[in-house]
Symmetry: C2
Subunit: 193 residues, 2 copies
DNA sequence: GGCTGCATGACACCAAGTGACATCACTTCA
DNA sequence: TGAAGTGATGTCACTTGGTGTCATGCAGCC
């Protein structure tokens, strides 16, 4: 019918973000999003399983990127170092997406449903990292803890990154957060008993 | 119009569980649930915010119960002991609900949406416990860790409890899980570095 | 009796999501 | 060159979750 247009998924995501930012998540309808993208509601659902998912398309990419980074870590690295080996690639992945991430974070922050979905994504990510560590021969407990810690560090750093107007390096923020975590944990360890 | 019937919420929950068990969660419609309870779809949504919520009505009760148990802990108890002080009351709370819990667990296990919701509930619960600990003067880090650990112990023990056909004591299972956690953590601590 | 408050029913409505089929552009191959 | 195939999209009808609104019946109360 109408001429073919490239990157339908991308156009849908862009339209969605814009509309969510303009009118709020709940107030915008999937049909509106599709219309702004020059497509149809039906087509929207061919690219995204549900309305929320349009904001979480990056999750898979993040996962792959992190895993790839971990694969590149030396065989004998300790678990936390393996996890941290993903920080660099992740930083690169998001390097040019600061404006998008900022907008997105604001939208998610205002809707409980979206926060639910984000929580799930982080949870799944943790599971994936844990599994990857386990396949490297890391013990179950250590893998679980390192994965938890890694995702927590990413989450904190990413939050700080999106809250800044001027885009700093996400990688630096992740390194900082990891340092903080280390000092907190060791401090607790000394103070306990 | 029709004669007044008591415990509408309870009847809805009962009808829902039955139907979910018979036909699956997705395959049963809110209208069906309401009809079996002798009510209307509209009335269902007056008692439960959404279809999933009918399976999570106990969350608030659990939360209150746990907090009450923690309140009863001695002023100078260490954080983990405070959290564990809720185990007794929780065990009592669920004492006569084993069949229900068993059915419910089976249903939740088969539907991703319901698992999402359960994850959120646990997450919220963690936050509440953490806050309660903080109000007692526990440091933020310790509160976060103790809350996480407590909820994890509850989750594991509850899973084991529901998987048993004969209802054992939930309290005993929680105590066991806590012991396991302790040994795992100390073992890791010694084995590390 | 009449008033008030509460739980519910009845009804219309919106938006998310899906299934089935048509259509258009583009490719391939005889 | 043209028929057949393929992939992305449109069209349309439909189900279901969820809500707003108003009517109705039952209770207690003065």
């Amino acid at each position: 019918m109408s001429r073919w247009k490239p990157d339908a998924a991308g156009r849908l995501a862009k339209a969605a973000i814009e509309l969510f930012a303009e009118q709020g998540y709940e107030a915008t309808t999937v049909a509106e999003i599709a219309e702004r993208a020059g497509l149809t509601k039906r087509t929207f659902f061919r690219y995204y399983a549900d309305k929320r998912e349009v904001l979480f398309g990056g999750a898979q990419e993040l996962e792959n990127c992190w895993l790839a980074g971990m694969d590149a870590a030396p065989e004998d690295a300790d678990p936390m170092a393996v996890v941290a080996a993903g920080f660099g690639p992740i930083s690169d992945l998001f390097a040019d997406r600061h404006p998008f991430a900022r907008l997105r974070a604001g939208i998610v922050a205002e809707n409980p449903d979206l926060q639910e979905r984000e929580l799930i994504k982080l949870h799944r990510l943790t599971g994936v990292l844990q599994h990857a560590l386990a396949k490297r021969g890391v013990s179950d407990h250590a893998a679980a803890l390192a994965a938890q810690a890694g995702v927590a560090v990413f989450h904190v750093a990413f939050g700080r990154w999106t809250r800044r107007e001027a885009p700093t390096s996400l990688g630096a923020l992740m390194d900082d957060s990891l340092d903080e975590l280390r000092s907190v944990v060791t401090a607790t360890a000394t103070a306990t008993t």
